[in-house]
């Protein structure tokens, strides 16, 4: 019984591509087993972790997870909650008790806190099995957004844009003097004092968007920003 890994490290694989042969391997995220074969279901980078073969996708829509900080738009306001559109197929909900560190009374005018079309930095506290999502505004850094601009990037590239221990995002922030918040759902908020800085920060982030998986990306970004480490 032959066992074989059929991809090279850092090789980009496409849907339907056979990644490995052998019953000893376990299909991880982004892959499935068909008889002897482990097969990729998306464009991405394949990785072996012991017996586990999984895929880091290069595209695809955001999959909400508890603990994720996301940026979303207030789409609806009811008596008891705000409904947020953050690019997923359902809206998510912020309940009264999670709306603010202040106590919000029943019957209060909710638009005074977050109005229609406002954007908020918010955190996922619960994802149910039927994809109902609860959010909270209570926590450090969670707030309504004022000023600045919002751009959209691919959700799967967000970890690269943040970097290990926030190294990448800090690199960009320091070299452009911009405030930057990157939502796990792929919305990014940028605010600087000067347009030129905001453009540089945007370009740096788009550079990662277009080159997320290549070698030496950090060097490339550093070179582009041309400044402090």
């Amino acid at each position: 019984m032959t066992e074989e890994i059929l991809f090279k490290e850092k090789e980009i694989v496409i849907p339907g591509q056979v990644l490995a042969k052998g019953m000893g391997y376990v299909p991880g995220e982004g892959t499935f087993r068909e008889e002897d074969n482990i097969i990729a279901t998306q464009l991405g980078l394949a990785k072996v972790n012991g017996r586990l073969i999984k895929l880091v996708p290069l595209n695809g829509s955001y999959v909400p997870k508890e603990g994720d900080v996301v940026i979303g738009r207030i789409a609806e306001i009811t008596f008891s909650n705000w409904l947020i559109d953050f690019g997923f197929s359902n809206f998510a909900a912020i309940s009264l008790k999670d709306g603010s560190s202040d106590y919000i009374e029943k019957g209060a005018d909710l638009t005074k806190y977050y109005d229609y079309e406002d954007y908020v930095v918010t955190k996922i506290v619960n994802v149910t099995s039927s994809n109902m999502i609860d959010l909270t505004m209570k926590g450090p850094g969670l707030r309504k957004i004022t000023g600045g601009k919002i751009i959209e990037v691919t959700a799967s590239k967000v970890p690269r844009m943040i970097g290990k221990q926030a190294s990448m995002i800090n690199l960009i922030k320091e070299n452009t003097n911009c405030q930057i918040v990157i939502g796990q759902n792929g919305l990014v908020w940028i605010k600087g004092d000067k347009l030129a800085d905001e453009i540089r920060a945007t370009d740096a982030i788009m550079m990662i968007e277009e080159n997320a998986h290549i070698e030496g990306l950090t060097e490339k970004v550093k070179e582009f920003l041309g400044g402090k480490q």
Binding site: G87, E117, G148, L195, I199
Partner: protein, 272 residues
């Protein structure tokens, strides 16, 4: 997937920048995007004339079919012209839905139609084959491929390019009737009088902005599409969006459009 068009944050951002005479991508308010490209013959096998226009990442294609038909009763010695813009099934934007033409696609079509028709770009008298009976009909169909903003101007440019690219089929007379032989295209072009240029200029607060991106367009308070002929006359005018414009605004917009039209017209340079 993806959040539906940005509203508040980007609108405010764009408007605040405009107050300082600045734009998101660093352009001046009256500056067109640098990347403007025209390609001819993109559907050469099928269409009598065709073209593709790219402005930044806005891409539109157009194709022309020439058919033989009867003239309208009130213009018995003139050929016919029809311009259509198709947004269904949608390619260019999540804003477009499959289905019958909506007001946006109709507006795009009408503005482009007016530019070509009212400028007299095509010498429709020369499209008459037999007065009162037989004429050439020019059918222009425009398909936006990617909406990166300013579809108005892109549609105008692509219609012009497709017209310039068009060659006539061989005309055969079979007894009393005329027939077109599409297997034998001639080198004869459509009879052209001039090249009109459609320009859409938007108002952001007190400032006038040329060639908007997708987000800038959404932030416009008002917009005006002006068509400028070669001799500097205005042959079509249409205001869009809610905010009102003063006569001074109109005048300023027309002056701005006139100053930009010449450069755009140069894109069609060596094509005749």
């Amino acid at each position: 997937m993806g959040v539906v068009a940005m509203n508040k944050i980007m609108n405010n951002y764009i408007k605040t920048l405009a107050k300082n005479n600045e734009r998101m991508d660093g352009r001046k308010l009256d500056e067109f995007r640098k990347e403007i490209k025209i390609e001819y013959g993109v559907s050469a096998k099928s269409a009598a004339g065709s073209a593709k226009v790219t402005i930044g990442d806005t891409v539109v294609v157009a194709g022309i079919k020439l058919t033989i038909g009867s003239p309208f009763t009130d213009t018995p010695e003139e050929g016919a012209l029809m311009v259509n813009v198709e947004l269904s099934p949608p390619l260019a934007s999540p804003d477009f839905e499959s289905g019958p033409p909506d007001s946006y696609s109709i507006e795009l079509a009408r503005l482009t139609d007016r530019a070509v028709r009212e400028s007299g770009m095509i010498d429709v008298k020369k499209l008459c084959i037999k007065e009162g009976e037989t004429i050439w009909m020019v059918n222009i169909d425009i398909y936006p491929i990617n909406d990166g903003g300013n579809l108005f101007d892109a549609c105008g440019l692509v219609a012009i390019a497709a017209i310039l690219d068009t060659r006539l089929p061989t005309l055969k007379q079979v007894e009393e009737k005329y027939e077109a032989d599409y297997d034998n295209m001639t080198e004869e072009r459509l009879p052209i009088n001039e090249i009109p240029i459609n320009l859409t200029i938007g108002k952001l607060g007190e400032h006038l902005v040329v060639d908007p991106t997708y987000e800038e367009e959404k932030a416009f308070d008002a917009r005006l599409t002006v068509c400028i002929t070669e001799d500097g006359q205005i042959c079509s005018l249409q205001k869009g969006k809610d905010a009102p414009l003063t006569i001074e605004d109109l005048d300023a917009i027309i002056s701005l459009a006139k100053s930009k039209a010449g450069k755009l017209r140069e894109l069609f340079g060596g094509r005749q």
